[in-house]
Subunit: 393 residues, 2 copies
């Protein structure tokens, strides 16, 4: 099978490395082209700066898009599919934005469009989710979807260092971008959650303003100490529930007791879970990023095409409705202003510097929290576990 790799950054060079190493079934794969930027000097014979050379090469079977970002990635994917080439991408931003278009064009051109590596890196999450969906309705998804934010929270938890210091360390280690907002403001989680939700409920949603989203930018070392005293560990989670004909989805810092797997998912690892009707709870833990794990997931998609293992068909025609207030949670809020009047109508409790709000619908909580942020931009919130126990729940 002949592969063209678009982009030769971390993941692209990882894919190249695994294919060059030619072990096991990767022996059946061959890298024919590598697309590099116009002004870059090619240092491998496969390198080219011409996308047209790749698109017009009839011997290219699979195009691997690992440029990242929206354009030109979006255009390249569309063009490759229209040239009847299978496309595999690790680019969650472009999939979350255009999954419906890619799916339609792929079907029209009898090409595959696979993206295992876009969510959970090396974790076979998309595959596990699609497999569960062959038999079950999936009623819950929740995950530590972002390795960078998990690394930051884990380091803060273990060292007691402030957010900014740990963020800088993460940047120095290459775990976080120079502009870290996608990771720490929950945007990356939102993209991965939307992709998962698209698959789980067979509908197409974008990470729009509707999505309740709250990141970890405002967390302080004092918050960490406080949560620690409560016996809880904080994680940035993407979550979704489905009930009847409705679903919700949210990105928010979430507290876990020490007897959960989430609380012990360390460093930049991911842990993603589903609940299915007959399968019950399934959890997948592994490296959510990193060169070789992510490249491995790309290779797995290529091998699925090579072996004719078709992924789940999506039509995005289900009638599930987004209901931001489908589930209720308890929350803890830290703010310099007295925000209890905002939450009147809900049961609240003042605990030192923190306000507990009980049993509030998720959408309502996020709406009110945006009002808190307008008056105190350093405010922080996290959802609380409903009760002690239930590692596997």
């Amino acid at each position: 099978m002949n592969i063209a790799i678009l982009g030769f950054g971390t993941v692209g060079s990882g894919v190249y490395k695994i294919i060059q190493n030619a072990k096991r079934q990767a022996q059946n794969l061959h890298v024919r082209h590598i697309l590099i930027r116009k002004n870059k000097k090619p240092d491998l014979p496969e390198m080219t700066d011409s996308i047209d050379e790749i698109l017009n090469d009839k011997d290219v079977d699979v195009v691997v898009e690992v440029i990242g970002g929206i354009e030109p990635a979006h255009q390249y994917i569309v063009d490759a599919l229209k040239h009847k080439k299978h496309v595999i991408t690790a680019n969650k931003a472009v999939i979350a934005e255009y999954m419906d278009e890619f799916t339609r064009i792929a079907a029209e051109n009898d090409a595959k469009f696979y993206f295992e590596s876009s969510v959970g890196g090396g974790i076979p999450w998309i595959q596990g989710l699609e497999r569960a969906l062959r038999v079950d309705d999936v009623t819950k998804i929740q995950g530590i979807f972002n390795g960078t934010s998990n690394f930051i929270l884990d380091q803060m938890h273990r060292t007691g260092k402030p957010f900014n210091e740990v963020l800088m360390e993460a940047q120095q280690l290459g775990y976080a971008e120079a502009d870290p907002s996608a990771d720490i403001d929950g945007i990356d989680v939102a993209n991965k959650l939307c992709i998962s939700v698209d698959i789980a409920y067979d509908l197409f949603i974008k990470p729009t303003a509707e999505l309740p989203i709250f990141g970890i930018r405002n967390i302080t070392e004092d918050d960490m100490t406080h949560f620690d005293k409560l016996g809880m560990t904080i994680k940035l989670m993407g979550k979704s529930h489905q009930r009847g004909n409705e679903f919700d989805y949210m990105v928010e810092p979430t507290l876990y007791y020490g007897d959960t797997l989430e609380a012990h998912t360390r460093d930049n690892y991911n842990l993603i879970s589903l609940i299915g009707e007959t399968i019950g709870t399934l959890k997948f833990m592994g490296q959510g990023a990193g060169q070789l794990p992510t490249a491995n997931a790309v290779i797995q998609d290529i091998l699925d095409i090579y072996q004719g293992k078709e992924h789940l068909k999506r039509e995005f025609k289900s009638s599930f409705k987004f209901q931001p207030n489908l589930t209720k949670n308890d929350y803890i809020v830290r703010s310099e202003i007295d925000c209890s009047p905002l939450f009147k109508g809900f049961e609240t409790e003042l605990r030192g510097d923190y306000l507990l709000i009980h049993n509030i619908p998720v959408g309502e909580m996020h709406r009110l929290m945006r009002k808190v942020l307008q008056r105190d931009e350093s405010a922080f919130m996290a959802s609380l576990p409903t009760k002690k126990g239930g590692a596997a729940k």
Copy 2:
């Protein structure tokens, strides 16, 4: 697709239930026969006591063997394959014993022989392992493979109750058999580990006397208290390592620090992990037993056949050699006799009622422990974590 179910116990009736429910892709499946025992009264129209009726029915595509035990399950599987029917089984004992024969006869008859549900119940472990093996050498496998023993250890840990009391509770709840030895002596773990090792290294090994195996029958509430004081949680593990041309495998109680996922795998859940060269660490957690999760895994195998998704080919021709002393561990031993002379030549440390043995080869440890047991049949041992930390390792 037409199915015959051999045996109508917990798993068999679960498979029937999911197919009758006819949701999603299970809609494509149809139960044509259910084999029941000779003297049992049929209470469903599909029921028959004639295996020949099933074998000679040309319209049966898949035979699901969920009788359990060695015979007649072994004979039925062989006969079904020879009648060119695909066979799916949840029966780990019969697979561990005859995987080579089943694989050979299936290939000769162009039939599939799949067994996802035999290891890890509803967890897509076999599938995850086979997928990893498309790209990677798998260098380590370890798992909480047995839900019953995990339930017992977890209950002892949480309630402080003695082993026998918790075992009786497990029996009353239907988690443990009247004869619990397969679960508590590690035999069930050994079967599941052997199946995993067979796949991982493409060789055929049986759970013979060579396999270092130690169960949890001898653990006391005082042991639990001691491990708790050390900040550790005990789990019955199946483990295997591969290095160069050698591998080891072992079943033994293993202590984990509180920052590991293993320590927080509760109730009768399973947690199974692999380490691959490029994928790194992958962990799968879910219900290792139970009617619907196990039946779900059976249905997944049927759907793989229905969709033409072939599993990994095995030839059992690899040249890996079993080396019981491939890895070294630290161990803790409790015995009423002074067993330190037995372990001379190794670094030992007496800690109250417990003897620590450092850096001893696994095979050697198990060999010497058998000698301890000859003189003190109530002795207990567990392997120790090498160092604090490493939740994801």
